[in-house]
């Protein structure tokens, strides 16, 4: 065998390469099975960045399906509740260019919560079935109410309500939600070149 290999250097090289290929192939195959990751790790990471409103404005039935769609190559700008901030975070994660929010799916709004006008509620339970996060309490023919802390403001309960007794009210109002905002960037007001001011005033 050795004698034949030394006589035939071409064959020796081929054998060596094939041997190496087979060994590493087997190793990789074993690793792929042994160290297999459950689920799709990228879609998990994307899902962690989505706001979990479960509103379906992106066209998918919830945040997880949208995260899977993004992992499969869908665009990252279909989430109005997340807004620019989420798009930026997704762009950073996936290393793609951030795009402006796709207006087709809605516009970015202040966070809201659903509020049932309780004396108008007829107790039909339709909103309870529509709520993606079980944030509405109630039973047939008795008044329902929203657990404000759990409500994501997805507005899925508005449409099914037969008496239109659900309002969306701003979630972050009042002094406890206030915080300082960044100072207005006044540096840009400086006219380094005198003609800058003239052009800006004309514009």
């Amino acid at each position: 065998m050795l004698a034949m290999l030394s006589d035939q250097p071409l064959l020796a090289a081929l054998t060596a390469l094939l041997g190496l290929g087979a060994t590493f192939g087997a190793l990789l195959g074993f690793a792929a099975i042994r160290f297999r990751v459950e689920g799709n790790p990228i879609s998990e990471q994307i899902n962690a960045l989505l706001p979990q409103t479960q509103c379906g404005q992106c066209g998918y039935p919830g945040c997880r399906p949208y995260s899977e769609a993004i992992a499969d190559g869908d665009s990252i700008n279909k989430c109005p509740p997340g807004g620019e901030e989420t798009i930026q975070a997704l762009a950073d994660l996936l290393d793609v260019e951030p795009q402006p929010l796709d207006a087709e799916h809605g516009v970015e709004k202040e966070p809201v919560v659903a509020w049932i006008r309780e004396d108008e509620c007829i107790g039909c339970t339709k909103c309870i079935q529509a709520c993606p996060v079980d944030a509405i309490l109630g039973a047939a023919k008795v008044m329902h109410t929203v657990i404000a802390d759990e409500c994501t403001g997805c507005d899925l309960c508005i449409e099914p309500c037969p008496v239109d007794c659900i309002d969306l009210i701003p979630r972050k109002e009042g002094i406890s939600f206030w915080h300082w905002s960044l100072p207005e960037d006044r540096a840009s007001r400086y006219d380094v070149i005198a003609t800058d001011a003239a052009t800006r005033d004309a514009a």
């Binding site: 479960q54 945040c63 997880r64 759990e150 206030w178 915080h179 905002s181 960044l182």
Partner: protein, 509 residues
Amino acid sequence: MRTIHDIHGGIHPPERKALSRPGDLQNAPIPPVLVLPVRQHLGVPALPIVAVGDTVLGGQVLAEAQGVMSVPVHAPSSGTVVAIESRPIAHASGLADQCIVIQTDGEDHWLAFEGVTSWRERDPATLVERIREAGIAGLGGAGFPTAVKLSPGPTRPIETLLVNGTECEPYITADDTLMQCRADELVEGAHILAHILSADSILIGIEDNKPDAIARVQAAISRAGVDVELATFPTKYPSGGEKQIIEILTGQQVPSGGIPADIGIVCVNPGTAVATQQAIVDGKPLTHRIVTLTGEALAAPQNVTACLGTPITQLLEHAELSVDGQQRIIHGGPMMGFAVSDLNAPITKITNCLLAPTATELPLPDPAQPCIRCGHCAEACPASLLPQQLYWYARAKDQEQLAEHRLFDCIECGACAYVCPSQIPLVQYYRAAKGQIRDSEQEKRRSDNSRERFEARQARLEAETAAREAKRAARKAAAQSQAAENGSDPIQEAIERAKARKAEQEANP
């Protein structure tokens, strides 16, 4: 003699403390209307328990605490509740908040209080409860509920009670005046607090620019014949920061993200100690506080004891505010205070000073210029942070780097902005960045919670569908097995029956 340590950085702005004549304390008149915000402290707002039209006596509870991180609000004088509504309050946001409005009757009738003179024999827990019921929140400026501070838990044994009489901020002399006029109460109050905490030693720290206060407190200590250490140290801003005074007096640093109790120290403002003494010994709730009224726009700058809820305008009138040349009213001091947007706002438990400077005295800052990276801010920072880096990261909204550079160790003292040659409002950048970080943390918690609930619901719906399927399959299997046993198919039979009924109906319409 205690070794006095130095802290990193710090500045020496003009003190201007003599302006308000520390040590001379007057009573402010009781205003015709008192406006009492339900949130005068850090934490959960108190819940009003009076109704519009109720007559109240001085010291009566108007709103009670909701939960642990909350304190009640009491009436500072007798009168009638005329409104419970949203009113402008003294807050940096300029927003309104819920207030209880009392029309005073001028009689100033008070509830009768019962104090405890033998507090040494009382159980600390009942004393803490009394302090909570008296509505005491830290009077230094943050308004942290004192009862919470006095319950550090069994894992944090307290060695030292530290009374922080530094009052390092320019202009303010409220604590100085309090230490001069209420020195005996201060010493007793400190003892009560130490008894509650089972602290071994009591330390009162006063900056050396208050010789009168030092003398009076020293005299009170000798009168009481007790073991209290009085330490003085050189004047520098911001030595009065909690973490700073601890380092100055003990050489120890409070761990980043920790509280003084982690190193066995509880630090209180002298006002809080006096309020504690009054709450325990006299049984009196916190309804008044000492406020410094100062600034060159006032003809009669002074320190007053004022009812909480007194509108700011009333106090400024009392101190003879001249309107011309005066540009803004600052709540707190010139370093850490904020401009009040509506002067009808009332003073609260955290109002230590109202500053009415003239336009020449404290001019509005010029527009910020670009950072020239001089590094003065890093030299001035008492927390040894890198203000310049924090500034760039705050502008870039880079939360990861802000956390890395310990943004939350910033005490917002304003030393960096004071020395900044470009007049960049650095502290506002840090406050905004802190707010944004807290916001996104809260949103993250919310979204994690929603995800869990959504997934739980999905799982439940799937389980319900699966259970229905299983039931149907079981029924079908039962029917088939019956058919196999009896040789008759129940489905076929049902179809036959239906056909027969239809035929019958057609036959006899």
